[in-house]
């Protein structure tokens, strides 16, 4: 791989960073799958730890690049023109607001309620955290800074710019969607209110002839009870426990504490469903971004090269090298494009003129033959 202007580290470290970017992209999907399929807490703890390591790595990368570029007096250049702002957005905010609290949270709840970092459970459902997690998707753009698809610098830059704009717009829309009611796919707090209303409505029927056993059966067999980790009756007895309690408890509202319902009933309610929906929403955007980037890399870069970059490259080479005499191929459909209008002038005027100048100079420099025409007669 060629050394680029944006390279701040030795090639081996730059290559390791590329490997880490590719791994974190795959890891992002794995993390979301863990949420969708409700993987066991042991696995999730490992994922959280890996995520934390990734975030430390990328924060260190950002810090390193910032220091090195600042020493070279190019910090502004790095931030604005070498995708430093992407490095910034996808490093320390994720470390400080997502993975560090997650590590503290998941490793503090070893089944014990009220453990050291219970305040961090608030962060699990905070909107800011969800928004910050979306920033993980921006990391994909980092690949563009490293993997050059074509030899043309202009093509790579333009594809990079277009892809960055598209990815950032998608991410912004996803962020906005967290705040706009009609665009919101899942919201933890709304979901809790809805779940409480459903449970309250069902419990209220116990006073109207519905006995507790029937209530439990309804909860066990219907969707209403799918998120109820535990249910206490007014007598204080636990009348329902979810079979998958261990995996749902750490994803429950109020740090897994009982939430009061009507008729002195209490329940532990999991936010697994809205989180899974949010993970699915992220994955849709993630797959869209990957599709968009691959489309840009494999389709649009070829089109751009054919319609813009290749012509420019040939003209530049033709101006630079006296012996280079290949004409620019002008596609009939695009002959009115500015690039091909210029190429037409290059073909029709410069190349014939250059040919004359070149041959004139060559003839001038060539040693004249000793044989004269008069020698023949």
């Amino acid at each position: 791989m060629k050394k680029q202007l944006s390279d701040h580290f030795p090639p081996i470290i730059e290559n390791i960073i590329i490997g880490m970017i590719l791994m974190v992209v795959i890891f992002t999907v794995v993390e979301d799958l863990a949420m969708v399929y409700n993987w066991p807490i042991r696995t999730v703890r490992i994922l959280v730890l890996i995520s934390f390591i990734f975030d430390i790595f990328f924060t260190a990368e950002f810090a390193g690049r910032s220091i090195i570029s600042a020493r070279r007096g190019m910090f502004k250049e790095y931030i604005l023109h070498q995708r430093g702002w992407i490095d910034a957005l996808s490093s320390f905010p994720l470390l400080l607001l997502v993975s560090l609290p997650a590590v503290l949270y998941y490793f503090s709840i070893i089944g014990a309620e009220g453990a050291g970092f219970s305040f961090l459970s608030i962060l699990k459902t905070a909107k800011a955290i969800r928004v910050t997690r979306i920033l993980r998707l921006i990391r994909i753009i980092k690949i563009f800074g490293k993997i050059q698809n074509t030899e043309s610098v202009m093509t790579n830059r333009h594809i990079g710019i277009i892809s960055t704009i598209n990815v950032v717009i998608l991410v912004i829309i996803l962020v906005i969607a967290q705040f706009v009611p009609f665009m919101r796919i899942s919201d933890n707090h709304e979901y809790l209110s809805q779940k409480k209303s459903e449970l309250n409505a069902l419990i209220q029927q116990t006073g109207k002839g519905l006995d507790e056993n029937t209530l439990v059966k309804i909860l066990q067999t219907s969707n209403i009870g799918s998120d109820v980790v535990s249910l206490k009756s007014k007598s204080g007895a636990i009348i329902l426990e979810h079979p998958n309690k261990e995996n749902l408890l750490w994803k429950s509202y109020e740090h897994g504490n009982f939430i009061p319902l009507v008729g002195e009933f209490q329940a532990i309610i999991s936010f697994q469903v809205p989180e899974a929906m949010h993970a699915k929403e992220n994955m849709i955007i993630f797959v869209s971004i990957i599709g968009l980037i691959l489309g840009m890399m494999f389709f649009y870069s070829g089109i751009f090269a054919q319609q813009v970059a290749d012509g420019c490259y040939i003209m530049e080479k033709g101006f630079r090298e006296w012996e280079y005499n290949l004409e620019v191929k002008i596609p009939t459909h695009f002959s009115n494009d500015e690039v091909f209008k210029t190429a037409a002038q290059y073909n029709e005027r410069w190349l014939p003129l250059k040919n004359q100048i070149y041959n004139h100079r060559k003839n001038k420099l060539q040693k004249k033959s000793d044989l004269k025409m008069t020698d023949l007669f």
Binding site: L351, P352, Q356
Partner: protein, 114 residues
């Protein structure tokens, strides 16, 4: 040579000299082969009566001299032959080539993918 060629007798004499020299080197060779070869050095604009064969020889000689077997056709560029014929077509007057013949060769290069 152009001066000599303006006089038909001188041109004939030149052809004969060349022919006798070539016979010495490679054996018998007909005049019909020698004449177009000699005429190929003539400027078509100054000598419009030169034969088609000599005009084609002139173009092919120039093409052979400019030919680079290792030349790579860059992506987005015309082929070396097509480019050369088109450039030379525009310079036909300058080099004394037959522009209509170059035009034909240019079209052929495009059609046949030379």
């Amino acid at each position: 040579m152009h001066e000599a060629a303006k006089d038909q007798r001188k041109l004939d004499a030149m052809v004969n000299i060349l022919r006798s020299q070539l016979i010495e080197e490679i054996g018998s060779i007909p005049e019909s082969l020698i004449r177009p070869a000699v005429e190929s050095f003539l400027n078509v604009n100054d000598f419009p009566e030169t034969t088609g064969a000599s005009r084609l020889i002139a173009i092919m000689m120039a093409r052979s001299a400019a030919y680079d077997p290792n030349q790579k056709t860059d992506r987005g560029a015309e082929s070396p032959d097509k480019s050369w014929f088109n450039i030379t077509r525009r310079n036909a007057k300058h080099y004394g080539f037959d522009s209509r013949m170059l035009e034909e060769l240019y079209q052929l290069a495009g059609d046949k993918g030379w």
